[in-house]
Amino acid sequence: MTAPSEVKTAKPRIMREEILPVLPPALEAAVQEHLDASPPGLVGVRLAAASALRRIGLPHSGAEDYSFIRVGDLLPHLGQAEGSAGAQPRPLPTAGEVEGWVYPEAKDNLVVMLDGLFVPELSRVSGDYFVAPLEESAPPDSPLPGMHLRFQGLHATFMSRIENMLEEDYDAPAALAALFASQPVLVRVPAKRVAAAPLQILHLTSGQHRSDALVILHAGAQSQSRILVRHERLGKAQDPAGPAGLENIHTLAILEDGASLRFLEQGIDSSAAGRDMHLRKLSVRLERDARLIAVTAHTGSRLTRASFGIDLAGEGADAELNGAAVLSGTRQGHYHVRLRHLVPHGTSRQMFKTVAADQARASVDGTIIVALDAQQTNAGQRIHNLMLSDDARADSKPRLMIHADDVKCSHGATAGKLDPVQQFYLESRGLPPDQARSLLTVAFIAEALGKAGNAGEPFRAALDHALLDGLRARLPGSGTAPTAGASQGVPHA
């Protein structure tokens, strides 16, 4: 007989689904200190970004959003609070230097940012755009008290929407950029304004350990505008053994009802700045019938990650994302996309094209989310990789998460080499093999650039030049390819 034993009820164990991320103590302390020292005009934005950062934590190896990236390379740059806030003052580039980076079309609308700091001396804006550091962007006192309150109220509403977007962020570098950017800039296109010329944002980096920048775009209802973004590195002839910098830029945009924005970004460098790293995030909220066309073209770097967080939040919104990357050497170029259809009748298209040569590494990690309510959504994503070498690597992770039941969604990914049949056709007409390969490679990438604008648009030509000439320079046989003039050398399908 066994004596009744004392029954001990085991204390129920709480299974935690995930370990809540905690910022490293030094970073947490720096975040708090930074928040405490923030000017009133920036507190809201920074609190929102800090709250996101504390929720997300820093990326770790194994993090799903970073499956194709060596997080170890990033962490030394992200784990510190330095950002541009603690950076040394640096000399401004000369006006002459800057002019070489300005698209002719945008000569009257230029915003220059140096390591995340707005440089009014080198910037100029005319007419269609309103540009100001965020902390000075609240409407000034008006002689009419009622009007003053009204504008203050509108501004506060807008800022709270921006703060909501920041708070919902899922990208640690983007949150860091918003939190530590020392001088965020607000670019506003008034409602119903059809901007005649584009506005250029020129991001200059001096190779700081990490330079954070935050740009906020507000496209007013039924406005129409174009933003051309260009990234350049100062001090090209840098010591190759010197420390590499990390450029960390977050661009947030709200497109009001019926607004249309073309956002064209170029991160092409032919310099030794390939040692730097570039993290770029574009977050856009599209309201009813708003339209976004985003084209980004780059040639990679030690690590380039272009991330898109796109929310179609109004019915009938339409978003188009195009990425073109040409990678050689050991450069890396990664795209990350999270595009959400939150309401019915949205349409979106994505096309990412990457040329990977040598030992380059590329990835596209793209998710389309269709919310339960978002019926009649039409979403598509295409990922195409052209592999020019056996040692190059390209990963594609297209994903669809569809909660609605009446939608049209498609996605596809390919990786391949140049088509020998096409190559023979060109050669049979007398083109040397290198020129034929170069032509086919350029044609491959050109499709993704085609959306940058109508044929003949000067920016398109500039982008074509920058990327395609860079591509030609990287390809064998570039010597025999014709040098591109304004109307030649660039195949337009």
Partner: protein
């Protein structure tokens, strides 16, 4: 006079290793400047292979024989080198190349040929004039300048584009592989007009065709029948008519 094209005991294979298949089994062909030859033959006889081997297609290996162009053996030359020397092949199935502008490509090819001849390259404006004139001759819409090579063209448009390329490059030797297939009579007349314009004392043309129809518009000097990888009969243009009425069986057996 040295023939412009001389094919001697040519044996060619496709594939490699165990899957290697002989296609041409000893071809002899001699084409003089000023002549138009027609090569006819049933499906699978090796007509297209012959044109591709002469043009330098990398999928075919020549194991025996030689191909002389103006007395020079061109077998060791790559396709692009042959093209720059003046050999042109019109494709049976012209290749679509999205993203490569047709006019742009034509200018590149034209300038490569000019360079090879030691002439100055044409600038875009000069070339445009040349192109416009040639396109007019072929009744081609100006939109084909803006479009990508062969992308979305109808069958007839593709063939016309081949003839346009030929007209621009002005080759010494043109080998046209079934350029007539898939054309209606109006398009056929236009294409034939383009071929006849190339004809001249310094030019040689080889028409590869399954049907006799094209030969009503481009009169050949010599007609060959190719079967089983060999030329089984050579004659005048009356041979084409015989083939048309009697088929190939009497020649093959």
């Amino acid at each position: 006079m040295t023939p412009m094209l001389e094919v001697k005991s040519l044996i060619a294979h496709v594939g490699e290793g165990e899957s290697i298949t002989p296609i041409l089994k000893g071809i002899n062909l001699s084409v003089k400047a000023g002549e138009v030859h027609a090569i006819m033959g049933p499906n699978g006889s090796g007509k297209s292979t012959l044109s591709k081997v002469i043009a330098g297609h990398p999928d075919y290996s020549v194991t025996q024989g030689e191909i002389l162009f103006n007395g020079e053996n061109i077998l060791s030359l790559e396709a692009d080198e042959r093209a720059r020397k003046g050999v042109f092949m019109g494709f049976q199935y012209p290749v679509e190349i999205p993203g490569v502008n047709n006019a742009e490509f034509l200018r590149m090819a034209y300038n490569q040929r000019r360079k090879a001849e030691g002439k100055e390259e044409a600038d875009p404006l000069d070339f445009e004039e040349i192109l416009d004139a040639k396109m007019k001759e072929l009744d081609m819409d100006a939109k084909f300048k803006e479009r990508a090579i062969n992308e979305g063209y109808s069958g007839g448009e593709k063939k016309r584009n081949e003839i346009l390329q030929m007209a621009i490059l002005d080759p010494a030797l043109a080998i046209l592989d079934e350029t007539d297939s898939g054309l209606d009579v109006d398009a056929l007349k236009i294409v034939a007009g383009g071929i006849n314009r190339l004809r001249g004392p310094a030019k040689a043309i080889v028409l590869i065709t399954h049907y006799q129809r094209l030969l009503d518009y481009v009169k050949p000097d010599i007609v060959h029948v190719l079967s089983g990888g060999r030329i089984v009969k050579t004659g005048g243009k009356e041979l084409a008519l015989e083939v048309e009425t009697q088929g190939y069986d009497w020649l093959v057996k």
